[in-house]
Point group: C2
Amino acid sequence: MTTSRSAASRGSGRGQRVTIADIARRAGVTSAAVSLAVNGRPGVSDATRARIMEIARELDWEPSPAARALAGAPVLTVGMVLARPAEVLGNEAFFGAFVAGLQEVLSAQDYSLQMKIVDSPEAEIDTYRRWFGQRRVDGVVVVDLRADDARIPALEELGQPALVVGGPGHHGSLPAVYVDDARATHLLVDHLAERGHRRIARVAGTAAFLHTAQRDQAFLDRCTELGIGGVLQDAGFGAQDAAVATAELLASDVPPTAIIFDSDEMALAGSHVLAESGVAVPGDIAVASYEDSPLARTHRPGITAIGRSAVEYGRVAATRLLEVIAAARRRDGEPDGMESEVRALEPELVVRASTDPAAQPVAG
Amino acid sequence: MTTSRSAASRGSGRGQRVTIADIARRAGVTSAAVSLAVNGRPGVSDATRARIMEIARELDWEPSPAARALAGAPVLTVGMVLARPAEVLGNEAFFGAFVAGLQEVLSAQDYSLQMKIVDSPEAEIDTYRRWFGQRRVDGVVVVDLRADDARIPALEELGQPALVVGGPGHHGSLPAVYVDDARATHLLVDHLAERGHRRIARVAGTAAFLHTAQRDQAFLDRCTELGIGGVLQDAGFGAQDAAVATAELLASDVPPTAIIFDSDEMALAGSHVLAESGVAVPGDIAVASYEDSPLARTHRPGITAIGRSAVEYGRVAATRLLEVIAAARRRDGEPDGMESEVRALEPELVVRASTDPAAQPVAG
DNA sequence: CTGAAAGCGCTTACAG
DNA sequence: CTGAAAGCGCTTACAG
């Protein structure tokens, strides 16, 4: 510590940082002019703007996000907090794919995703409060929506940009995007009914989540409408539970002739149980899934599934959240009405051999 | 816009933010004293420190990350950039699990993960440059290590905390954590050899990644040592390619009696092909995987795999990076020697019925 | 269209 | 152990 470098090592970094002051000096203008120029705001002539931009490029200037944030500009970060154990998330195909889709859109707009894992919904709400209090994020995306979710009123009260993934309903006045699960359920049940099934089971995921309840309801309703027997089998979480649920269905007095699973992971696990028990798919029992994946596709027989990818879901969510953030910034506190708009993703059915032997050419 | 709120709406936020100045006023000290107190630094008496902390809590004070960062404190964020398409990432079980593990450790230390998807290694390097230039991150984790990876020298030159996931070798002077792939390969090959296999195939993933090459080498070497026939079959990416590779192996003149796949996704896809072709597992051909997952476990027969979970890998990586960041901060520019230390995760073999019929009780 | 200034909320030497 | 001040790098009214 013999050399003096107090000025450099204090403050923000390595010392040789180039700032708008440097650019201003070179351009013979004030730093305010530089700020206006680089942010594309009116207030400088085209000529000086061009000169300033050129110098900024020459000097390899990078704006300081900290300084910008401190001065009140957006921090270009959106947050997502997950109240589930890491192990569980890691096993969910949905999670990685959804995040990847979010990232793709956010990165393209120079936005970052900030994630945090907590262990309770209370801790999740607390995190939102702190994040917005600290101005750490410009907005948040809320996943794993539940019925009467405590996070919704908390977020409404905070009055900050938030996008709910899930619904419809139970997202209060917040904007939301969701896959139309009722529609997806109809697609699945109708397809099976058309193929002659009269006794269909649904192996359902975690009951706490709203979409699970919605699928349950739609499933039962549709079965009633079509006059076919619908069986509901709860299966908690993941592959293990789905395997158990499938075994239970097999053991019942009158097993179903078709099973719809809540995810590809569950469908695969269930299929393994069927195969092990010598049950032919789809000959004895047909199999379908609410979620598609490469594994569902390469499985033999290929598994009929709802084809809305989680990646696409992530993209739509990110796009919508960015809109909400932009709107909030524009009105700066005044409500605006249209930002609570809800957007639904239309599900599509991908028919494969697990429900239709003709769907998959032998040389596939 | 009739009400005046210029002072409030300018600057950082909603106006009613509580700052260390507010605390200082209430406590009858300067804001400098507050700063020292809340950061646990010496310079204030225990009594005033306690009083300050109490007031901070009462006022519900939250430090401003922007202000801290601008004043030179760590930004409590680590970055990870991925040069792969979102779709590919989304399908990788490894990705989600690894991120979940990272998150778990980082969140506990109040650190955030910042991710970005780019479309080339050059863009990745550029992102590192900008992130550190902007002081957006305190460190980065580098994944998908390649042989002679251009990112390594770039990061070395930047001289900022970085942790390489992968190796050994090819990570230059940077600290690294890796799963010992040579060891994992021995575990797999030896296990198969012990069970009498004399012709083993390896279905390998993307050739560009270092660990693929290392597994190739270790595989060939070990086969030679044990005097058994080793077949290498390249399979590019994911389920589809693995299915094709497996079909090709089946079509060869003398098919192997065992196949080792690079990931659980590939092993599952390959198993589907085997099942479809009427090949008994493990009777005709045994199957093993370098990566475990719930699906590999519930598959029938359960798939023998290397049991080091990606979640755990993420945890170790985060822990190590945090150490490196702390060390860098302590020495403030002076090299320190021990932070380039490399840490290896010891792989474990989980034997299941895909290689050993006795391994899985029928009533599993 | 341009200049000069205040302010965002902290941290960190430097004097007392 | 405590006070007073400078500085981090921006943005945003406000005057000219």
